[in-house]
């Protein structure tokens, strides 16, 4: 009834938050949840929207950081790759 809906929504929220940690977009989140948790994208999308309404500031900042990361990622990634190369050449990677 209401409880199961609430807990379901809570679960979806939890999953969305995990995706947020991964800096995923809403679409990526919908896809991931549908694929890995069998959650209908429309549900993910709705919960995401409602979360956004309740946490406007967070999502605004999230969107900003997302755009920044998109810009920076290439630069950062190449830097990281270079570092990886130098790291592996300098010492044994402990895997």
């Amino acid at each position: 009834m209401g409880d199961s809906s609430t807990s379901y929504i809570h679960m979806v929220q939890h999953l969305i938050e995990k995706c947020l940690i991964f800096n995923m977009t809403k679409e990526e989140c919908m896809e991931a949840l549908s694929k890995h948790a069998n959650i209908k994208p429309v549900i993910t999308s709705t919960v995401w929207n409602e979360l956004e309404k309740e946490n406007k500031e967070f999502f605004e900042a999230y969107a900003q950081s997302q755009s920044k990361q998109d810009r920076m990622s290439e630069e950062e990634t190449s830097r990281m790759i270079q570092k990886m190369i130098s790291d592996t050449s300098s010492k044994d990677p402990d895997e």
């Binding site: 199961s4 679960m11 947020l20 940690i21 948790a37 409602e50 979360l51 500031e57 999230y62 920076m72």
Partner: protein, 424 residues
């Protein structure tokens, strides 16, 4: 009438009387009733002090100055005025004879003085003076009007810079207005100007420092946990506990009000809000024990919100640097935020990756934190699996949950009758 006639007499004696007379006429109109005890109210002090202009705090031409100045300070003003009022009747003759007896015939003399000084200012300045006068008489008001003794100082950037220099030379807490005045060496400033400016400056500084400290503490915390996490990620029993109960996204509780402002600027500096909210997480992780695992999915949700809300309120206190929850290094660096974004990002990613990427070697992550900008399918799958299998776990970010009804209504609009759906 007591005042009026002597005034007229006085003016007749003065050279500038012509103007003064007109002034007095005006003044007399404005002095409706001296018979009452409300001398102060009825006295139009703007006339009295019109001679005091912005540039000069005194009436250099008048010998009366010191006495007037003595009378003017609000504390003593009323009594002085009253005293003078009382004497007015008696000293009619005196007034005629001596303009210098301002104290005793303050009304008349002051008017005389002011008239002498700048008769034309009387009319023009009357409004300002009126405000200034009344307010200063009522009770020491600040130097906001030009008509009062306290000259309005224009704090130009240059002037302020000198002020700041002087203050810092003396030490902000030890800076005393009189010494500042000395150090600045500007004639036009009075000690009172400096004092009020100092007060504003101090409160402004405090505000800035508080904000900086808050932000610095968060950034430090994040860095600390960012470096600590990979170590913990491998060794801890349950990786997910590194994302402990959060107080969640900054609540709008009033204690957080100040800190709320902090979040916005910090966003600008390239830190997703997420960082900050996650920052909240980690310290909290240290203090409270994680909630015990609960088999049923039902009970936890109702209990958890209250639990988290409780922490919700705790966090505002926890945010203050120096609280026991937070590691000491927080106070070490009043970092400039410009430096933060770049170093900040790697630890952020490293941390999360270590936490959620069970299959990913922590060491690798530590070294190549940015690799997970595009998270791998495995890590996502692992994270999702975690949530599904352990529903009791606290929300990693702890966003404010949407209203169930809102969601249900919206879903029904979209054609989803109920959740959980029978089939995905």
């Amino acid at each position: 009438m007591l005042a009026v006639s002597p005034l007229r007499n006085n003016t007749s004696k003065d050279d500038d009387e012509g103007e003064m007379e007109s002034t007095f006429t005006i003044s007399s109109d404005e002095f409706p009733d001296f018979a009452d005890g409300n001398l102060l109210e009825s006295i139009d002090f703007d006339d009295l002090f019109l001679s005091i202009d912005v540039d000069g705090d005194v009436l250099p031409d008048l010998e009366l100055d010191p006495e007037i100045l003595a009378v003017l300070p609000p504390a003593g003003e009323e009594s002085e005025m009253n005293a003078s009022g009382e004497k007015t009747e008696e000293s009619d003759n005196q007034r005629k004879d001596e303009e210098e007896n301002k104290v005793s015939t303050s009304k008349g003399d002051e008017e005389t003085v002011s008239k002498r000084e700048e008769p034309k200012a009387v009319k023009t300045g009357s409004k300002d003076g009126d405000k200034g006068r009344k307010s200063s008489i009522k009770g020491k008001s600040n130097n906001n009007n030009q008509g009062t003794r306290k000259v309005k100082v224009d704090w130009t950037p240059e002037l302020h810079r000198r002020f700041v220099q002087a203050v810092e030379q003396l030490g902000v807490d030890k800076a005393v207005p009189s010494r500042i005045l000395e150090l600045m060496g500007i004639d036009c400033l009075t000690r009172h100007n400096i004092a009020s400016h100092l007060q504003k400056y101090r409160s402004h500084r405090k505000h800035l420092l508080a904000r900086e400290a808050e932000a610095a503490s968060w950034i430090h915390r994040r860095q600390i946990y960012g470096s600590a996490t990979p170590v913990g990620g491998g060794g801890k029993r349950d990786v997910n506990h590194w994302l402990p109960p959060t107080m969640g996204f900054p609540p709008s509780a009033s204690p957080m009000h100040h800190q709320n402002h902090l979040f916005r600027p910090l966003h600008v500096w390239g830190h997703p809000t997420m960082d900050q909210s996650l920052m909240h997480l980690w310290p909290k992780h240290l203090a409270p024990p994680p909630p015990p695992p609960r088999p049923a999915w039902g009970p936890p949700p109702p209990a958890d919100p209250s639990f988290w809300h409780h922490q919700h309120h705790r966090v505002p206190n926890g945010q203050t640097p120096g609280t026991p929850c937070f590691p000491p290094p927080l106070t070490a660096a009043p970092t400039r935020f410009g430096a933060v974004p770049v170093p900040g990002i790697p630890p952020h990613h490293a941390m999360y990756k270590a936490d959620t990427g069970i299959g990913v070697p922590a060491s690798q992550l530590r070294r190549h934190p940015l690799v997970d900008l595009h998270p791998s399918k495995e890590s996502i799958d692992a994270a999702i699996g975690d949530v599904l299998s352990k529903p009791w776990l606290p929300l990693p970010i702890g966003l404010k949950p949407p209203s169930t009804d809102g969601v249900l209504v919206e879903l029904q609009r979209q054609g989803v009758p109920k959740i959980p759906p029978s089939c995905a």
